[in-house]
Symmetry: C2
Subunit: 503 residues, 2 copies
């Protein structure tokens, strides 16, 4: 089986990137019930290539330029294999001390490597620490629940007790608002829905490169307060989904210090969602650009190792400045959870840092990856993805007759669309026409089956996203992709001249 996995990964480039099956293809191929008696492994295994593989979109393919990557690596796969050999519910330290302790240690390692301020370390002065969540969305839910509880603890009359206190908490809860920029990941809006608080979007502008600013935060906070609502949580982003924009952290921190100072009860919890681009903080140059000191004023930081750092999904690494914020919001008790270690307060019980009770042994793969590559190895790998993004953007610039860059290159992601003028024509294209042409180009590229890109819509401008951060992607794949994009574009523009393309 290990050989099959190696063969698959080493020859993945020979497969079409995106599955071309039709909806419902698999039901036609499988029986309608489970077999009564067991089948041999060889029969089962044969079905993987014939029935499953046609329905797989290959995220490890070197010409996968869509979304963000979702990598693996041999050390990470081995981590999953060992984890599968050693399952347990692991809600308590005693359920397997190594599972908890390795998690705390490798999250300290990673926090140091990406330059997080000391307050996020488990050994830091504010009793912070990290935990492995499934996804960035779960980290938003968890921190938003903690933020809500912290806010209400600070603002509800401390003298109330029992049902009176419950009543006051619930009344105040009705006024709470979670905030995020209009470019933030959908996870914040969904988290607000889940935990039952209001949600308001903070507009961002093209002239700010789609980054959220202090002024835009101030405006929305003031609007909310004027209506009697109370903002308590703000998601900021390092590397937004659409364009990899970076919010203006220093400006936002300075604004919040004025309008919701930490010294007063009811400060606004700031979460930093660095799901994809957080991995780039391994590079000192990026740390310097971001200004890591500002993060000490925020409350939580999350990145997905499973988006860039060659670690299997799921490995979303979340740090908080004070772990008691999570524990006091999420702890639960049953007699069966009791044990000496917990009672003595000497150990971490990660069940109180997350939504689920049980958990997998996910720190193993992180440990294997960090040790196998070393920090330098990972830095080189991340830099390579960024450099290929710059190379791709330069190729686009060299054909300014055909393309316009809308944003980037930013962390290996470039967003572009067809140029304002069709080179074989003198008139400027209307927005609708340009959108229709760019969409046609996008479809033509993808229908080749040789590469995959996804698209976005920015201020009503349809644009193509292309990221060069997949581990298997090399310069030659980016060059091949660009050649394909040119020929597709030329083909589409030829059609346009002949009057074929209209929105």
């Amino acid at each position: 089986v290990c050989e099959i996995v190696v063969n698959y990964l080493e020859n993945i480039g020979d497969r079409p990137v995106v599955s071309t099956v039709s909806p419902g293809y698999l039901r036609k191929l499988l029986p309608s019930s489970a077999p009564q008696t067991g089948e041999s492994w060889s029969d089962i295994q044969a079905d993987i290539e014939t029935k499953i593989m046609p329905g797989i979109t290959h995220w490890q393919h070197p010409s996968f330029f869509a979304f963000f990557p979702c990598p693996n690596s041999y050390p990470s796969i081995l981590g999953e294999l060992y984890s599968a050999a050693l399952p347990g519910a692991f809600f308590n330290w005693i359920c397997s001390p190594a599972v908890t302790e390795l998690e705390t240690i490798v999250l300290d390692w990673l926090a140091k490597a990406i330059g997080l301020p000391e307050c996020y370390l488990s050994t830091g002065p504010t009793r912070g620490g990290g935990v492995i969540a499934g996804t960035a969305s779960e980290s938003v839910v968890v921190t938003m629940v903690a933020a809500r509880d912290k806010y209400l603890r600070e603002t509800v009359d401390q003298s109330l007790e029992g049902e009176e206190r419950e009543e006051a908490m619930i009344t105040n809860r009705c006024r709470l608002v979670a905030l995020a920029s209009s470019m933030a990941h959908s996870g914040t809006k969904k988290a607000a829905k889940i935990i039952g608080v209001r949600y308001r979007e903070i507009p961002v502008r093209a002239e700010d490169s789609y980054a959220m600013t202090g002024a835009s935060v101030r405006k929305v906070v003031e609007e909310c307060r004027a209506k009697g609502l109370e903002p308590f949580y703000l998601t900021t982003t390092l590397g937004t989904t659409d364009t990899c924009a970076v919010d203006d952290f220093a400006d936002i921190a300075a604004t919040l210090a004025e309008i919701a100072p930490a010294e007063k009860p009811g400060e606004i919890w700031v979460h930093l969602d660095a799901a994809f681009a957080g991995s780039a903080l391994l590079l000192p140059t990026i740390q310097a650009q971001i200004g890591m000191d500002t993060l000490a004023k925020f409350h939580s930081f999350d990145m997905n190792m499973h988006k860039w750092l060659v670690t299997n999904f799921d490995a979303s690494t979340l740090w908080v400045r004070d772990r008691s914020w999570l524990v006091s919001a999420l702890s639960s008790h049953m007699h069966v959870y009791e044990n000496e270690g917990t009672a003595g307060g000497l150990v971490t019980d990660y069940r109180d840092w997350q939504i689920p009770l049980g958990r997998r042994f996910r720190s193993l793969k992180i440990w294997f990856v960090l040790r196998s590559y070393g920090i330098k190895g990972l830095q080189e790998y991340i830099q390579r993805g960024i450099d290929m993004g710059v190379m791709f953007a330069n190729m686009l610039k060299s054909r300014a007759d055909l393309f316009e860059i809308v944003t980037g290159p930013s962390f290996a992601l470039t967003v572009f669309r067809v140029a304002a003028k069709n080179p074989s024509s003198t008139k400027e294209l209307a927005l609708d026409q340009r959108n229709a042409l760019t969409r046609k180009v996008c479809e033509a590229i993808n229908s080749s089956g040789k590469m995959w890109v996804t698209s976005t819509m920015l201020d009503a401008r349809f644009a193509i996203r292309l990221q060069t951060a997949v581990a298997a992607t090399e310069e030659k794949h980016v060059k091949d992709a660009f050649a394909l994009i040119i020929s597709a574009t030329e083909e589409v523009l030829k059609g346009e001249v002949n009057g074929v393309v209209h929105e």
Copy 2:
């Protein structure tokens, strides 16, 4: 590596069950930062046996009688291995059609195998269907959010729009109450905390074998309503954590038909948490005992294949009677999620059935397990675990001089304590003394290192829980365990006669 995994699992009985390390053991063994340059795999691998294994509690050990099991199996491990080779974010159908379609199919297979009413099938008349969640706790959050939205949709004035509607929803939300029995898993109380609704416990009684009854539900619902609160969600349990009790589903359904009829807006959503014992529904005898028809009146059903059905954590299988309940509460939108399949409504996008956006390819391991064992193979395996539980209970009964069974055997779980009288004495033991003695016995058993049991507290009675459902457990291990329990008990009672043991 595969060989190491096989060796580990085949010889697991030679290891101590529970780790005996002290808190903080691992930090002393590892460097304080990740290495700068990569290390060889052989160096890394060597650390697993020397540094990780001492901190592992072996859940696959044949003498692991604690909590509930958390099994694996070779087909399941292979499923995890393939899944690790094929990672992706899989939030959409097009992200890999096979991932979505296999999940729908194997959940239909499993629903049929455990006798769920047709309404829970993806092909059923009410457009139900199944989804793989991480844990039973997550399934409770997801269904509670769906239930809240459904309830508010039905009860809030339909003519309101925009902020007025938001206001009305929020006002009504303040009155909502989630319910579960005092023996339900802590996940329901935690979910209520997370989603921000009130929580009330429904008392259960020893004379009902700790099962929740219709009368107890009615009483609490009426109390809530008398205070202006509105119960909207009820967790019922098949196999409670402490004693594997089974709530009286038919009685509860009949009561709810009176006090919260489905025909009227604002019915109470009933979730059935069968996390551990749901696997036993593979046996037709158990299905008949439960009366599966009643489940058609409930709204959702969840069981953890990772608790009994030889499938690696995590594999919590959740079914709903109408999938639109989940989608309308949890759907989110970004331009990058768009694709033809989704737009055409032909496909399932499982991101809208769960908290996270991305997901792993978890249906593979379920497919491998169902096919490798076959339904009959799994039935025999489940029956064996139950039979060993009966055998153990009979052994306890044969030594009524030493032990009293508090509950069970129920689904492989028996709960017991020391007998009311010390055999070498004539006086009855006081509750405190009996608790102290039982606790001593529990500690003595576990300190042997040869087996592991956990305990519970039932109406102030301390008792030992012992389950016989671990895949590697055979009759001989149960007999050895009983011999050890007897000698530990005799030792403790001897101490008691000498006046050593007091609470």
